[in-house]
């Protein structure tokens, strides 16, 4: 049987207070999660692409990576650089260390791209030279 009191409340348009509060709380909680996700500084990552394959490493853990026996890539103190290269002109070594999202080191003769992604911005858009 339908509860007449409930029907009266619905007809009158008075707020169902508890339900409203719960709905508002859910929406605000969802919004807070969205905000938090957008603003949280995730750790930066290093993406190394070679032969169509991509490996990703966190920027905040020091390590040495051998890329296909062609390059030695070192991640240290939040930056990545190439320390050894089996390529004719070693320009990838001369590009130095990068740490900001969007920056990349390229070893063109070996077809290897090392790119920093995610994390805090604040770096430059590009380096000429």
């Amino acid at each position: 049987m339908v509860d007449e009191r409930k029907i009266d409340i619905i007809r009158s348009g008075k707020p169902c207070r508890v339900a409203d509060i719960i709905a508002a709380a859910i929406i605000l909680a969802a919004a807070a999660v969205v905000f938090a996700a957008a603003l949280t500084k995730k750790g930066g990552a290093v993406e190394i692409t070679h032969n169509g394959q991509r490996q990703t490493y966190p920027l905040d853990r020091d390590r040495e990576i051998d890329v296909g026996g062609l390059l030695t890539v070192v991640i240290k103190d939040g930056a990545v650089r190439v320390t050894e290269a089996a390529c004719p002109d070693k320009l990838c070594i001369h590009q130095g260390a990068v740490r900001h999202a969007g920056r990349a080191i390229v070893c063109a003769p070996n077809g290897i791209v090392i790119r920093v992604t995610g994390g805090s911005g604040g770096g430059s858009d590009a380096v000429s030279g």
């Binding site: 929406i27 957008a38 001369h94 130095g96 260390a97 063109a108 077809g111 858009d125 000429s128």
Partner: protein, 395 residues
């Protein structure tokens, strides 16, 4: 639920999501990097607009097409055939695009008073400063090289084969051709090709309605419009020194609104150290036949007293910026700065530059000066090695 609540709650949610979106969550660039030009250069893009992936695809297709025609190392390219095989007078067919590029290159040699030329390859080889030559030297491992440097007579002879007037560009019935009158002429478009391709990329962005973007072809940069959010592009200039270690940082930061191109040439990536005391780099001065900054003195080839270590040129046309930065390195510090100023005065008011010089006293290199030409918003940065600030020379 009351009507007020029915409106308020979705409105609140919408407001919150809009706020989150405007924080950058969801507003992004398409970013990608590919290696092109027979695996010798990279193209990186950040594009914001309709179908950025399609735009990048088109850019790569255009760039690879040009490379297919002008790569001097690729035995199937038209330029390889012209350089190595074609007989004097034999016509080699090229596309309209490459015809444009070569016509522009010839024009740029005149504009730069001969300091930029696409015909210096014979001299590069003579000095072992072609790709094979400088790549054989690894500063981390090799001591100074000991090969015999060319005599002034040999330089003069090679210079005779570096005359751009031996190149003929013709159009016939809608087709385009190049040929040479001197069998020994050898061309290399490395000093202008990246800039020319960057200009074509800018055109592709225009045609496709991409209003904010950056294209970086191995350090040859073009930027379009403003960044998302309205800020100017933050472009850095790599420090030319120290030269023998990879730990250089950035020596200055430029703040640039598009459309503009930024190109740097310098002596710090492709060079070798010679036991005679000179450190020649890959930029040849076509007028002397010697590498930039190398002069013939009483004791033989010597490092000049002052020379350009790095020249960054800004201009609306990337091909022009590319050729001009090379030309300034060849001209030297004083002459290069004066020449750029004269370019501005003859109407090229979009041209601006930052030039770094170095001095050599016979024993060691010391930091020289920095010259800024034209109005650029610029800030010196600290490099990785806490590099001492340059003195500034005004022009």
């Amino acid at each position: 639920m009351s009507r007020a609540k029915k409106i308020a709650i979705p409105a609140l949610a919408a407001l919150v999501f809009a706020a989150a979106a405007s924080c950058g969550y969801g507003r992004k660039y398409y970013e990608a990097t590919e290696i092109v030009f027979s695996k010798s250069i990279s193209v990186s893009v950040r594009l914001s607009g309709p179908d950025p992936k399609g735009a990048f695809s088109e850019m790569l297709s255009v760039i690879n097409g040009i490379d297919g025609e002008i790569s001097p190392a690729n035995p199937d390219s038209a330029l390889y055939y012209l350089n190595e095989t074609a007989a004097p007078g034999e016509r080699v067919e090229i596309s309209g695009t490459v015809y444009d590029l070569m016509t522009l290159s010839v024009e740029l040699e005149t504009v730069t008073d001969g300091a930029f030329s696409i015909a210096v390859n014979n001299l590069s080889r003579l000095w072992k400063l072609d790709i094979a030559g400088y790549s054989a030297f690894d500063p981390a491992v090799d001591g100074p090289l000991k090969h015999a440097l060319p005599t002034p007579d040999r330089v003069a002879e090679a210079k005779g084969d570096c005359d751009i007037t031996a190149l003929r560009l013709t159009e016939d019935g809608g087709k385009y051709y190049m040929s040479k009158t001197n069998k020994n002429l050898r061309l290399d478009l490395g000093g202008v090709a990246k800039g020319y391709c960057a200009d074509l990329c800018l055109g592709i962005m225009d045609a496709r309605g991409i209003t904010s973007g950056l294209v970086n072809i191995s350090g040859n940069i073009v930027v379009k419009g403003k960044k998302l959010g309205g800020a100017a592009w933050d472009i850095r200039v790599r420090s030319p020194r120290p030269r023998f270690t990879p730990l250089r940082g950035e020596v200055c930061a430029l703040s640039s609104y598009g459309d503009v191109s930024i190109v740097t040439s310098g002596d710090y990536m492709r060079y070798y150290v010679h036991e005679s005391g000179i450190t020649p780099s890959h930029i040849i001065d076509p007028r002397s036949g010697a590498p930039a900054g190398i002069v013939y003195g009483q004791g033989g080839w010597e490092q000049a007293g002052e020379y350009v270590s790095s020249a960054t040129v800004l201009a609306k046309s990337s091909a022009r910026a590319d050729a001009y930065s090379t030309a300034v390195c060849a001209m030297g510090f004083e002459a290069g700065a004066k020449w750029l100023k004269s370019r501005r005065e003859s109407g090229e008011t979009d041209v601006a530059a930052i030039i770094f010089s170095e001095r050599y006293d016979g024993k060691e290199e010391t930091r020289g000066d920095m010259s800024v030409i034209g109005a650029i918003e610029l800030a010196l940065t600290d490099t990785v090695n806490e590099y001492e600030r340059y003195g500034q020379r005004e022009w």
